[in-house]
Amino acid sequence: MVTKEIIKIENLWYTYSNGYTALKGINLKIYRREFIAIVGANGSGKTTLIKHLNGLLKPSKGRVIVFGMDTRTTSVARLARHVGVVFQNPLNQFFEETVEKEVAFALKNFGKKSDSNKISDILKNLGIEHLRYNSPFEASLGEQRRIALASVLIYEPDVIVLDEPTAGLDYKAKINLLKILKELLAKDKTVLVVSHDIEFLAKAPLTRIIVLNSGNLVFDGLPIEAFYNIPLMYSSKLIPPQIPALIIGLNLQKYATPLNEEEAYETFRFLIKKVLIDGHR
């Protein structure tokens, strides 16, 4: 599944102008078709890290290579063609009168033609086609998030980065978002999600999870390894997902390591069956 390396971060340090060092020697490689979650407490450097991926921030030390381009010497506009970042607050980007124009904004910037069919497809896919001629300011938060996502997806970047996409969304909107992300992965895209929402991440088909703690990369590996590592979760000021916490609490992790409800149903079905059969014997 994992194939070509597309982003390489080497010994990345970043210090803000007020002297605060947000990233301390991060080394990271990102491959095509990965679905990565970046987690960590507030102020652990997550947003600073993703702002390096499209060159909004330039490294204080070390370097970031995106599709063979060094971000220190490449313009944001060029990097943004490959790496689309959807920021947390959609209101930070809306300025057009209609959703349609808002979504087409990036196309104009990249000198591409505004394609009405393509806009239709994307809006339909995200379930916001009915808002096409409405003002983006009038939409609900969940819809605004989707408009912001559409305005990045329209120019088809290879890597899509989402900063706290689930903050303030209800359960149904989260499930909807997950469906959209899965479709992106099916289209050979690479997806990075920055989030605190551990329960959401436990449901997502992540290939890798990266844990940041006060600017240090403290974990880079499989979601199962991270979510079943209670000391790691607590030391990074995160709460483990409910299902792994339950399994560890019942000391069942040697039998199975489910991450979410669906996997847990399987596990418990298996375990109960085993207990009942063993009990009969």
Binding site: S17, K51, N54, L56, S75, V76, A77, A80, R81, G84, V85, F87, N89, L91, N92, Q93, F94, F95, F105, A106, N109, F110, F137, S151, V152, Y155
Partner: protein, 256 residues
């Protein structure tokens, strides 16, 4: 980084020097008196002396770094104003009196720096709450004093918000540095509109949050920490007034 330097200079941050213990009303009087002094000074020597006194006052309050930052931020602005003024004067009356021009610019620099250093001393050592209390004690209704303080507190937040907006638009390929003048000008629209919208939303949320906590319910209000004029305050203001006034006769004796 002109704006960054200047806003750093004006920003309040908690330290532990005597300047932070002074009563905000005394500091307001100090800024007012110093401004008047430097504007009435016709003799450049008085101006320079008053300017140096401000630098000393800032130094005694541990604010030298802020003064350096302020000067760094203001210099390009002042250079621009001087160039613009010279051009304007030259266009209207080509026979410029160079000496008069140099005198005018010199006094302008001295006055701007003096006033703004005094202002820096005030804003960077007085918390918005203290400043508001000072206004209220000076018989200005807090319903009017509060918005003033909020404006002052909102400036860094709005700048931060504009930075975020700029980042979000650049992430969608907006380039402000390229293209013709008209195109660049038009490219500011995607920055300005979200900024205004976000400022309006913030203002609405703030108003609701304040009303929810009964802002303006009573004509009078009390304060958790009451400000009081102490001996240190009187000592400070009297010293400043005497030294600044003394500059006039001394300069008249030695530099007239």
């Amino acid at each position: 980084m002109v704006i960054g330097d200047i806003s750093y200079a004006f920003l309040y941050d908690r330290k532990d020097t005597y300047m932070y213990k002074l009563d905000p009303r005394i500091k307001l009087v100090y800024v007012g008196f110093t401004t008047l002094t430097v504007f009435f000074a016709k003799n450049p020597a008085v101006g320079v002396a008053v300017l140096l006194i401000q630098v000393l006052i800032a130094f005694s309050g541990g604010l030298l770094k802020k003064v350096v930052s302020l000067i760094k931020g203001l210099t390009p602005l002042l250079l621009f104003i001087m160039a613009f003024n010279t051009a304007l004067v030259y266009l209207t009356s080509p026979s410029i009196d160079i000496q008069l021009l140099i005198y005018t610019f010199f006094m302008m620099i001295v006055r701007v720096f003096t006033t703004l250093i005094a202002f820096t001393v005030l804003t960077s050592t007085t918390s918005p709450q203290e400043l508001m209390q000072a206004f209220v004690k000076m018989k200005i209704s807090y319903v009017y004093a509060y918005p003033l303080i909020i404006v002052y507190r909102f400036i860094p937040i709005i700048f931060q918000e504009m930075n975020n907006i700029y980042d979000a638009q650049r992430a969608r390929g907006l380039e402000l540095e390229r293209g013709s003048f008209i195109r660049r000008f038009r490219n500011i629209v995607p920055i300005i509109i979200p900024s205004i919208v976000s400022a309006l939303f913030k203002a609405r949320d703030l108003a609701e949050a304040m009303e929810a906590r009964s802002f303006g319910a009573l004509p009078q209000r009390t304060f958790f920490k009451e400000i009081r004029i102490k001996k240190l305050d009187l000592l400070f203001i009297l010293t400043v007034i005497l030294i600044e006034l003394a500059c006039f006769p001394i300069a008249w004796l030695f530099f007239s």
